[in-house]
Subunit: 357 residues, 5 copies
């Protein structure tokens, strides 16, 4: 979805009463799909294509329930979920509004986090972005994805099913952390692609700068602006969670949050570094163009400066005046050729001295 499409959808909502549920994203998957994964230390129950009514019973169990919804076009589903878990209408509105700036809100009985899940589409060589909302409370995590096919969470599900690591021993805050960690860690994959493209461009810049190079730099700059817009707020999102006084986040989890806080800072740092490198590359490109123009001009000037006086001399003796004594001289022609060589020699010497040759 291009920038204009996104904001067009967004502006379509202007004037509607607050809390109106309108899905502004592209309808990506045919239908909203619900997956439920309910687990505690000893057992796991999974339902891959659940319905809303299946979610209800888990509300009051002690086990951790992870409800993962892919595709937001089913507004009834969201309303049902909202009333079941007591979500504020504005939160539901934010979930549907897929042009949301990353942020986290502490709503007392639950915490709401929204951010962008970025992936690199190997076919179009473009970054694809999908909005993910997380809502977690005392015994549940609800993750809502905009609905691009596939997600990054499969390894995590595997860890839960296989009881690998500490995840089954810890609460929904740790699961929410693990989801955030998965998403934010994937930014490094995107950054790697950028780093590769920047290095390639840089070599091209030194060896053979072309007009296409310029457009490549411009394209990278644009994507970087977009990436930055997604990544900058991450720092605050995680920081708010880490410093939260809500008892939904256990102290042990905060050490992990501090870790992804460091990752967020690292990502932002790298983006800024790349931005600077791109700026510097644009400067170099401009200088190279000027330099090459200089070369072109020198060639032209050398040629003109050598041949214009010679052509003039030849023109002189091409005149038809009756009384031109040199014309009749026996050695006139060889002498003139000598003089012409002399003039050309002086010019070449002059250019050598000026360091143009």
């Amino acid at each position: 979805m291009t920038m204009v499409e996104r904001i067009k959808k967004r502006s379509a909502k202007a004037g509607l009463p607050p809390g109106t549920l309108v899905h502004i994203g592209a309808k990506k998957v045919g239908e909203s799909r619900i997956r439920i994964l309910d687990y505690d230390e000893s057992s796991v129950r999974e339902s891959k294509k659940a319905s809303l009514s299946e979610c209800m019973p888990f509300r009051d169990t002690a086990s951790v329930t992870w409800i993962d919804i892919e595709g937001l076009q089913n507004i009834q589903l969201l309303e049902g979920l909202g009333s079941c878990y007591g979500l504020h209408p504005l939160i539901l509105e934010d979930i549907l509004n897929t042009d949301q700036r990353p942020k986290s809100d502490d709503m007392e009985s639950y915490i709401y986090v929204v951010l962008k899940m970025l992936d690199f589409d190997p076919r179009s060589l473009e970054i694809v972005s999908e909005q993910v909302s997380l809502v977690f409370g005392r015994n549940y995590v609800i993750s809502l994805q905009e609905g691009r096919e596939g997600d990054l969470f499969e390894p995590l599900r595997e860890r839960i099913r296989g009881n690998k690591g500490r995840i089954r021993k810890l609460g929904p805050d740790y699961l929410a952390y693990a989801l955030l960690d998965t998403i934010i860690d994937h930014y490094f994959v995107i950054l790697e692609k950028f780093a590769e493209r920047i290095e390639a461009l840089e070599e091209e810049l030194v060896s053979d700068p072309r007009s296409e190079t310029l457009h490549q730099i411009h394209r990278l700059k644009r994507e970087m602006i977009f990436l930055r817009k997604s990544a900058w707020p991450l720092r605050e999102v995680v920081s708010v969670l880490e410093k939260s006084e809500s008892d939904l986040i256990r102290p042990a989890t905060k050490i992990f949050l501090r870790d992804i806080y460091d990752h967020a800072i690292h990502i932002i740092d790298s983006i800024e570094t790349y931005r600077e490198m791109l700026s510097s590359m644009l400067d170099i490109y401009l200088s190279s163009v000027s330099n090459r123009m200089n070369q072109v001009m020198k060639v032209l000037t050398i040629i003109a400066t050598i041949f214009m006086p010679l052509t003039f001399l030849a023109g002189i003796y091409g005149m038809n005046f009756k009384y031109m004594p040199e014309i009749g001289w026996r050695w006139g022609y060889p002498l003139l050729l000598l003089i012409m060589f002399g003039v050309a020699g002086v010019m070449v010497y002059f250019f050598k001295k000026k360091n143009w040759l």
Copy 2:
């Protein structure tokens, strides 16, 4: 109204005692129009062309009174309103001074908010801006518009009349919020127009950059500077309200204010993003111009470098010296033509190697 007109009006006030009521805006509508909408959960009363005296009785009722004034040229009206609702002279001055920077002031018994309502004029393709002041107290909201015909509040009025949503159940702080939300949400419509124009320009930039493109970029930059000046202070305006300790703003309303705070941040973010894109486009434009100049120079240099030596050679054999042995040679002419082809060939080879062809 252009920038100069606006500031001219503003500077006309310099030297007058503080609290002097002078309307500096353009007189937009013939007369100030007052609309009163008084409502509580069970009933609504509306008066579309009310007079000042009609406002008075509502001052002490328990219902919420929304007094909407369009057009500020009637200074008596404002003074009457001011004394009826106990507004400070400086607030009245600020309302009339339509070159006001967006801000919000907590005056204890009422809260004053001033900001710009932006709209996109479909005829002139320009942003039109109108200053809106909001004053709200325990049981009333006064909204004062500079007076451009039409406003954005009609859907809101409709919601009140039809008792849609929660608006009739809540107090004047919620109404003030709803007004702010309407205005700020409309900024997204403006942003959409910008996004469209930037995308169009960007395509033009890649396919066919012209001198007109440059002026378009400049024009967009200027409008962006203006838009930014209107939008930046919004963040603070809403933040002040949200963090206010005044009991005029109920806690439930603060959650809504936090929502428009997020919108304000989003708008500012987008503006900054567009600004960067425009800067980047200007760089690209400049580089393209340099690039094309380079192309032009190369053509000139190639032509000159090929034909100058040839013309010189032709000039040599156009000379009239008596003793020029080559002139008399049987194969002199074809030989010279061959040499000329040779010289031209060497030049073309040289340009091929230099990658100019």
Copy 3:
């Protein structure tokens, strides 16, 4: 006084002991002039050319005394005033040092404010600046002007004499506020002139950019740097007063100070906006110059590319070889002319295709 003159005066003081009274400004008016205006709610006394001894008796009266001094060359006068009102030597030094950065100091028994009064000289079309110091205590305000002829305070005096507005009812803090308001409001007049000049330049930039335009932009930029240096500290000056805990400033006056704080912010905002516009204009100017150079180059290249081959062809048949069969052909000349037309036509077609014509 140019920048160098000002700082020369300033550096002349280096090495002198602190508190040494040296007047570094230009001696602008022949002599220091003292005006006294003493008023309370019921009466006004005015003395237009007072001496120092006339100031003394007012020190202990309950009425508000405004001592206005124009011209700082009389150091004895300042020392007398200083000892009469108990001013710290460093404050006296600051008053005399007319290259002072705007600031406000709370000295407990009085408050000291220094700032620049700007005016626009209609003859030289330049901004003229004059340093104004204000000292106000429990029952007096002393204003000290550097001494340019005339000031902006006449309307204020008129208001006091005529008992207009609330000024006679309020204390010296309100008078000090009124003086600040007068000075700061006049910045808008200066900004208006800037806005006019920027708009004029902008039109020129689009219609007919010349080398003079560049120098105009540069000149405006320089003046803007100067204006900004005067205006930026205003924000802090007023903010310090507004947040002061001194009991010399009554709470009622603080509402007024908040008003001029808003003005100061507005002025700074406008200056930043103009700065950005000037930067953007410089970019456009540079691009325009490049664009026009491109035009010039195209003309040159077109001409050279058409006529160089033709001239070469003409040169060929101007050669004097004995054996040139074409020379003797009956239709040789018209044929060559045809070929020449052909070559020129091909060139023109090529330029059309390249979009250069």
Copy 4:
């Protein structure tokens, strides 16, 4: 390791559960080498190629134990160490992740610091960077180096062995400080190399700016961006330690930490200064290129402007019209030569006046 390699390794970890120990750095030395240096005021014990089991007994002694590990590829070693000293899994992960942003974490029973040790490779003339992690507790310091051959700590070891200075009298916090001091002090060596290269480039820029100069500036800029990324966080790293309320850092050590805090600020300051100088140099380079192009153009223009009219005149009298009276004049030829001199003279005068010669 280039930027891309580093981030590739980093992104390879995306999706793995937190706390997974993966060494992402290049395997630099064949095997991890452990050195133990255990000392108190009276005695030193050293073991240059220790095994993990040798570390254990020192855990509970009162003496200070410095365990220095070079090479991180032995994950079992790290896990052993981690469980012996009770290190958090995330800390172990950070140690292995050699693309870490410099930071310091207070983990209550120990403090973790990670930063870059920079060195200048005399062969490749490049900066080489190695990540160093420090963990220190009540009676131990563990330093973990990425594993480039050699380190900067030998003089420090010498000081411990020889009981020079105060190091043997103080605790592990002082040893950690000494390690940090050694690493950060070495940044000045790097800065010196930069300063030398910048000065050399600057001279080249003034005397003989070439296209190579441009690439040198670009290369320095890139290295500076990298250096800055390593150095900026140092300020915070040290500041966190200095302001720490942990009782692992004694007050006497804090004075020393304040000292390296000053060094960090100094390094950052210098880097910013160099960055500005490089920017300024790029501007100068661009201006020089423009200037030289101007020179080239002037030469071309002078030559063309002098010889084109002359060649035209010669062309006139090279025409073969039957009726050209000048052709037959006795003094036609010398007269024309005179006229030609005159034209050339006028042109030269014109260029002199335009200051082009």
Copy 5:
């Protein structure tokens, strides 16, 4: 000492244990010279070439002792002084390290301040800088100068000897203030030189921009970067002293410190202003170069465009075809001259219309 020399010395210290006393500055004066000035309100004792042992007795007197040391090469002297006055080894190290960033440290029993004393060398027209350290305690001030011949303190000594002003009545904190004031006030002298050079350059820029102008701007920019590096930290240095809670600084002195705080701000402000002016000048220079190139190109194009077609025409009638009817026409030659005039006229008209002439 150039930048590289300075940092070379600095980097030579890397790896040495903290507190190692190494003098890294240039050895400027032959020997360290000690001056003692001991005074109270009633008496002064002065010793111009004192030895270390002479300093000792003053340690416990009630009078204020000012020990001024010029030249830091005598490390024994410093160590003696350090142990006599109880200075921390790191402070001694900082005193010797003459590449120190300006700072102030409160060491409880004394306060340490280090900053740069700038002077303008009238011979080399360059800024010379010398590091000055101040240490002051309950009854003494030690000032340590790097050792350039001469200093700025003579007028201050004169004030003490002659008992001028309040200096003899006040304590060592006032003396330290007076020293700081002397040094910081001298920055205005440096700024004046800059202002003069900038104004001169600006005139040159408008009247006759040359390549030399560019290098001048570059040189000023470099010096400005250096000056800024010395001046920026001053703000903090003085601010720390002013806000210090140490009882070594009496409240009365703080008013004076606030005064030099204002000076520091003023200096920084001026430097920023000059920096902006230099940036703006560089832009103007670049634009001027482009403009002049444009002029040059126009001249070339006009000449080429007029004479190329004419030369071509002349070339046509210089051809030797047998059958060229025009050649034989009676009025062929004058007619062609007329046509040539016509062509030239059309070209001139075209350039007039294009505003190139």
